[in-house]
């Protein structure tokens, strides 16, 4: 019998995609990336995508209108309306904006403080290290959500006026998360810096007479960025959940501005009255985004850790 030429099980990679780029693209977890991409997209274009103003009742919509697939629903408000007659879909879309804003800036702020303190502690050592690390220990001993509530309440009293260009309460929340989540960065990065400081190339830089600042910027920071990114991607999920918690408690994003957390909070009163979509829909959004962020963070941790890549 003649041997037939069989097609290859995999099509050879097209020449115009470099092999390495193609490999990386193939390995990115598809679903979490799509979810996060969707989040970013919605947040950026909420203004264009939302059919109604999220803070005003829909004209002629009525309150507690069910989603489109239930009796009495209409295409005008696909996910129904809330107790003030506002469009739930529009509120969810605008809520994505708040979520993304808080997640990114809160994480970056916490990461900034943490990296700074971690590097200072690890590089300079001695009593500076002791002071920073004992502070970190103390900070970590406080339950984070309770601490967040405390800080948020404190900030609400003092500087709620300082909203910059952000919606009411968002600035506060970012500040709160920055002040709470820096500890994990500081600890891990300090450890990393302790080993980096003893590396020969850092020694060589010292022998070469470079200033401390320059050594830190050129030789220390780039080497801890890897770890920093992993920590950041894993912190994003936690920040999103706690943002929702704070907004739910009324300490986060303030009422007219839609956030997934305060949507839940407003729907709490009517949860048992049969208007399930008001709680379930934001709930799903929160869960899916947090899950996606964590999966993505996990993938990044494995990807950026040479030990786990078996190199």
């Amino acid at each position: 019998m003649a041997v037939e030429a069989r097609p290859l099980p995999y099509a050879p990679t097209a020449d115009f995609v470099p092999a390495r780029a193609a490999k990386i693209v193939r390995e990115i977890p598809l679903v979490p990336s799509l979810v996060l991409a969707l989040l970013v997209f919605t947040a950026l274009f909420a203004g264009l995508l939302a059919p109604h103003d999220p803070t005003l009742p829909v004209a002629g919509g009525g309150v507690f209108k069910p989603p489109v697939w239930m009796d009495g629903g209409s295409m005008n408000t696909p996910f129904g309306t809330d107790f003030q007659g506002r469009d739930v879909l529009s509120r969810l879309l605008y809520g994505a904006r708040v979520t993304l804003m808080v997640a990114v800036t809160g994480t970056a702020f916490a990461g900034g403080i943490g990296m700074l303190l971690g590097i200072v502690a690890g590089y300079f050592g001695g009593w500076v290290d002791q002071a920073i690390m004992r502070l970190t220990d103390t900070w970590l001993a406080l339950p984070s959500l309770v601490f967040a509530i405390f800080l948020a309440a404190l900030l609400q009293e003092k500087i709620n006026q300082l909203t910059f260009f952000l919606p009411a309460g968002v600035g506060n929340i970012i500040l709160v998360f920055g002040l709470i989540y820096w500890t994990r960065y500081a600890r891990v990065i300090r450890g990393e810096v302790l080993t980096l400081r003893e590396r020969d190339y850092v020694r060589l830089a010292q022998v070469a007479g470079l200033s401390q600042a320059r050594i830190i910027i050129r030789h220390i920071v780039p080497n801890v960025l890897n770890t920093w990114m992993v920590l950041a991607s894993l912190t994003v999920g936690v920040v999103i959940i706690n943002e929702a918690s704070l907004s739910f408690l009324g300490l986060g994003v303030q009422a007219p501005t839609p956030a997934w957390g305060n949507m839940l909070s407003e729907a709490r009163r009517t949860l048992m009255a049969g208007q399930w979509w008001l709680t379930v829909l934001p709930g799903i959004c929160i869960s899916v985004v947090v899950l996606a962020a964590n999966l993505f963070g996990d993938w990044m941790r494995v990807k950026l850790d040479p030990k786990q890549r078996n190199l």
Partner: protein, 351 residues
């Protein structure tokens, strides 16, 4: 006679541990000089204080270590008295260093050009094409082929020998008068080692830079250096011109070191100095080497030998040199200066 480039006088460095309870004198009264364009070899066993001495010169000491005395006169200035901001200008610009491990001496995240150019950028204010041309010239001078291509590569793209050359280029980048090379060839294989040393020697001849070459390989010293200083337990026990030290070593430790060089073709068991280097915390009284010394006599354990001048530039710390050793009746008046029977006469319990 002109002033030497580097004149180290009675340098003492000590580690203080357990809140001052224990003081380890890692460098104890080291004195040596290096002239411009000269190569001084610093040899000794591991832990004898070679590296610590060099770090003391640069005032880059680990925590708990302190320079307790002495002077380091570099080009007429006492480095130990300089304010730290000026010291920073000496490091890299006037005195540079090559470390042992080429794999660890380069930052994996920066290109070769970035790292080689760093001291030139920092100390000489070179920017743009000047810096680029300088980097290429430096890489060429350490014999890295096609430097304009390789300069934009990362350390992982280079072999060990190549990386060590790049480290050499970093050392040259600030235009130093003195390079301290801390066992630069220990981690290279033998053929690469020879190439590297030739390159270094050639470079030294061309640029007139002085070298302080730390090693425990006496073969390398013979090839590279003009003078040698032998260190033992933080003290320089003998120093002098290379030929003088090799042909007429006066200190028993130097003799022992020379006899422990493996000889190709010899079927005799390799000679090893009996015993171990002493614990710096509990140094033996008198001469630190006396428990391992083949020619020890009464005075050695009682009094520390001073530095005896033996000839032009040749000095040794040993009572034997003084001629104060009493005539031993058993050897019938002959003073045995060889070390051939040492292993038999003083077997070490630890080996």
């Amino acid at each position: 006679m002109s002033e030497p480039l580097l004149n180290v006088k009675d340098l003492c460095m000590a580690y203080t541990t357990f809140g001052g309870e224990r003081v380890l004198r890692a460098v104890d009264g080291a004195s040596f000089t290096i002239d411009r364009g000269e190569c001084l070899g610093l040899v000794g066993e591991s832990g004898s204080g070679k590296t610590t001495t060099c770090l003391s010169l640069l005032r880059l000491l680990p925590k708990g270590a302190e320079i307790t005395g002495g002077e380091v006169i570099f080009d007429g200035v006492d480095l130990l008295k300089l304010p730290s901001s000026e010291m920073q200008r000496v490091r890299g610009k006037r005195i540079a260093m090559i470390l042992q491990d080429p794999m660890a001496s380069l930052n994996p995240l920066l290109t070769i050009a970035d790292q080689v150019g760093e001291p030139a950028y920092f100390h000489r204010g070179e920017r743009g094409t000047t810096l680029r041309d300088h980097v290429i010239a430096l890489l060429r001078s350490v014999r890295i082929p096609s430097p304009d291509v390789r300069m934009s590569e990362y350390p992982h793209q280079m072999s060990g020998g190549m990386r060590q050359r790049a480290v050499g280029a970093i050392a040259l980048s600030g235009g130093p008068d003195l390079i301290i090379a801390d066992e630069p060839t220990t981690n290279l294989d033998v053929t690469i080692q020879a190439q590297y040393l030739n390159m270094l020697k050639d470079l030294q001849r061309r640029t007139g830079v002085a070298l302080l070459f730390i090693t425990h390989n006496l073969g390398i010293v013979a090839k590279m250096c003009d003078r040698v200083a032998v260190m033992y337990a933080g003290k320089i026990v003998e120093q002098g011109p290379v030929r003088e030290i090799y042909l007429r070593p006066r200190h028993p430790y130097t003799k022992a070191l020379i006899s422990s060089i493996p000889k190709i073709g010899s079927k005799d068991p390799l000679y090893a100095i009996p015993g171990h280097p002493p614990d710096l915390a509990v140094l033996p009284p008198g001469c630190s080497f006396h428990p391992r010394c083949a020619q020890v006599f009464g005075r050695c354990s009682e009094e520390e030998p001073r530095d005896f001048e033996l000839g032009p530039n040749h000095r040794a710390r040993c009572w034997l040199v003084d001629g104060s050793r009493p005539v031993d009746p058993s050897t019938n008046g002959k003073v045995d200066v060889g070390v051939g029977d040492v292993s038999a006469s003083a077997p070490s319990p630890g080996q």
